[in-house]
Symmetry: C2
Subunit: 346 residues, 2 copies
């Protein structure tokens, strides 16, 4: 394996010095629990309800798509596809971000159009190419027709009334339990120096030297901690003009511009978490990059205008593999039935 | 609620007398465990592997459909749809039968074309409108590319080699754990006379008097115990000519004829289990009947040439509700990852 080449350039030098001074202190272990908003405290009853809703395909118009269909918590929290498949086999336009540790992000969706997990949860339900409901009233009506949900809502909210906000709050509460602490890096940061192998330690240093950490900072490797709703965005590609632009269609999607219609937001995307990134191929907002090694190479070129050598790529990929956390054991929910009848026109 | 009318006719009288003599003895509680074939003993390691495979959408060509997509064990073991949705939004031609207690059936599929759970499991993988793989070799190749499956196969089969027969054996072993004992009827049969309410007791009697039990006999209410591969079939409709034929398209599907091309098999279908039938709307091979009450009414007319009164329908439906069993708690599987890359062309 080739060792990384020494870099040059003032910014790089600064980061390198930072790396030498700070070492592993540049990184934070993942907290075991995210902070829930005061308006939606996490309770076991709400989590139980949210888990049932999360796995319930009846949230989609034709009973074929659940939250878990595209954000599969039995795997890396997404679906391994470039574009997710919604009702009637329709394809979305961006790759599903992982639900794991999404609770640590200050905005949701690739373009940050939802300020919270609660708001995010409402989106796919009424997206015509995702769950396909005509409106939220239709979702509420569907759930009201499933008797068994009433006691679950009552336990979660001290009231049996089903509203779209409560549906979203319960799903968000469940998602705040989808945390993967205790990765190799976390163990390393807590003092277990054998938790990373040599390549991963080199990769950790390269992650700082090359400059990845400039954006992928913080416990979630998704940028600085910001108040809920305030996103940390970067332009992709920051350095356009490489052969990757065409190969991976990097300039097609205008990103956050579609939300704000501000020129400054053209091609801006929320910086995604790198926690469990080894489990979320294919990569980028359009799922166009099939491997993590290639994603590392493309990111360095497109965002930092650097060409990595093979050794750097291997080390960085190894380090990113150390961000794979420990997945909590979960019991399957039992979905409330509608005895003797269908909950939707089948 | 109207009480049922007293019946007439020699067969009905015979069944009625049988009912009076035998009472609840006409019914058997559901065994806690099905018998596994000698060629595929059930072991914890095989069940664990089978569960992962059962929930793994990578068994489908584009990673969008798992066994659980159409046979959802978080619910009634099917999908609540008339026709299931396979890859690329394609619809199948029959309604998904429940996987719960399928282990007690001597043949699988509505037309009985698979003699065992093992053979059944192989079918959807290469059905172009279900999981859509070109052949079983493609499935095996896909799984061979997922490193984490190797140790699971090794533990299950004392050998890491992945073959389609082992895949099917593991899935079948998992399915043999999908049993729902301890329904209200089971508790009643074991001596808890309060387990059924009055309507359910009347319905139990009506089930015998009307003649439902002639076909829906045995512990699974799916016919007599037969050797594996020998199916118990009935013609639907046995009494054609009612308005239901057109309303529910009862004569469109030629059933087992499509398997054997024998005239005697035209419109023959495997008698389905009635265990958990309240959870598997919509009903019939084509999912055309939306409620259990209507299914009871149609079955009586189409199969026994009887028109039930409202009281009979209510009692029979109540009794069928007593066949809803207790669902085992299950931990979610964790699907083996392919770190840093995709397991299929996304």
């Amino acid at each position: 394996m080739k060792r990384r080449r020494m870099g040059s350039g003032i910014r790089r030098l600064g980061l390198l010095l930072l790396g030498i001074v700070a070492g592993a202190q540049a990184f934070e272990p993942l907290p075991e629990k995210p902070i829930a908003p005061a308006t939606n405290p996490t309770t076991p009853a709400k989590v139980a309800l949210g888990k049932a809703l999360y796995f319930d395909p009846r949230l989609s118009v034709d009973g074929s798509v659940s939250c878990n269909s595209c954000h599969n918590v039995m795997g890396g929290g997404e679906d391994g596809r470039s574009f997710s498949m919604g009702v009637r086999g329709q394809l979305g336009g961006r790759s599903s971000p992982t639900v794991w540790n999404a609770a640590f992000l200050s905005v949701q969706f690739w373009d940050g159009r939802a300020p919270s997990l609660e708001e995010q949860a409402k989106g796919p339900m009424i997206n015509p190419v995702e769950m396909g409901n005509p409106d939220h009233a239709a979702v509420v009506k569907r759930l009201q027709g499933i008797e068994g949900y009433k006691p679950l809502f009552k336990q979660a909210f001290n009231a049996p009334q089903i509203t779209i906000d409560r549906v979203a709050q319960a799903i968000a509460a469940y998602e705040r339990t989808l945390i993967t602490p205790d990765s190799s890096l976390d163990r390393y940061l807590k003092g277990d120096k054998k938790a990373l192998n040599e390549s991963q330690v080199r990769g950790m240093q390269a992650f700082q030297d090359v400059g990845c950490v400039a954006c992928h900072s913080g416990a979630a490797f998704a940028g600085p901690a910001l108040p809920e709703g305030q996103g940390f965005y970067q332009k992709l590609p920051t350095f356009p003009g490489s052969a990757y632009d065409a190969k991976y269609r990097l300039t097609e999607d205008t990103g956050r511009f579609q939300v704000t219609h501000q020129e400054a937001d053209r091609h801006m995307f929320r910086v995604p978490t790198l926690r469990n990134v080894a489990l979320t191929a294919p990569y980028f907002h359009n799922g166009s990059v099939p491997t993590l090694e290639e994603a590392v190479r493309v990111m360095a070129k497109a965002q930092l205008n650097k060409e990595l050598d093979d050794g750097q790529v291997l080390d960085l990929t190894a380090f990113l593999g150390a961000l794979t956390g420990t997945f909590p054991r979960q019991e399957m929910p039992q979905l409330p039935p509608t005895p003797g009848r269908t909950a939707f026109a089948p």
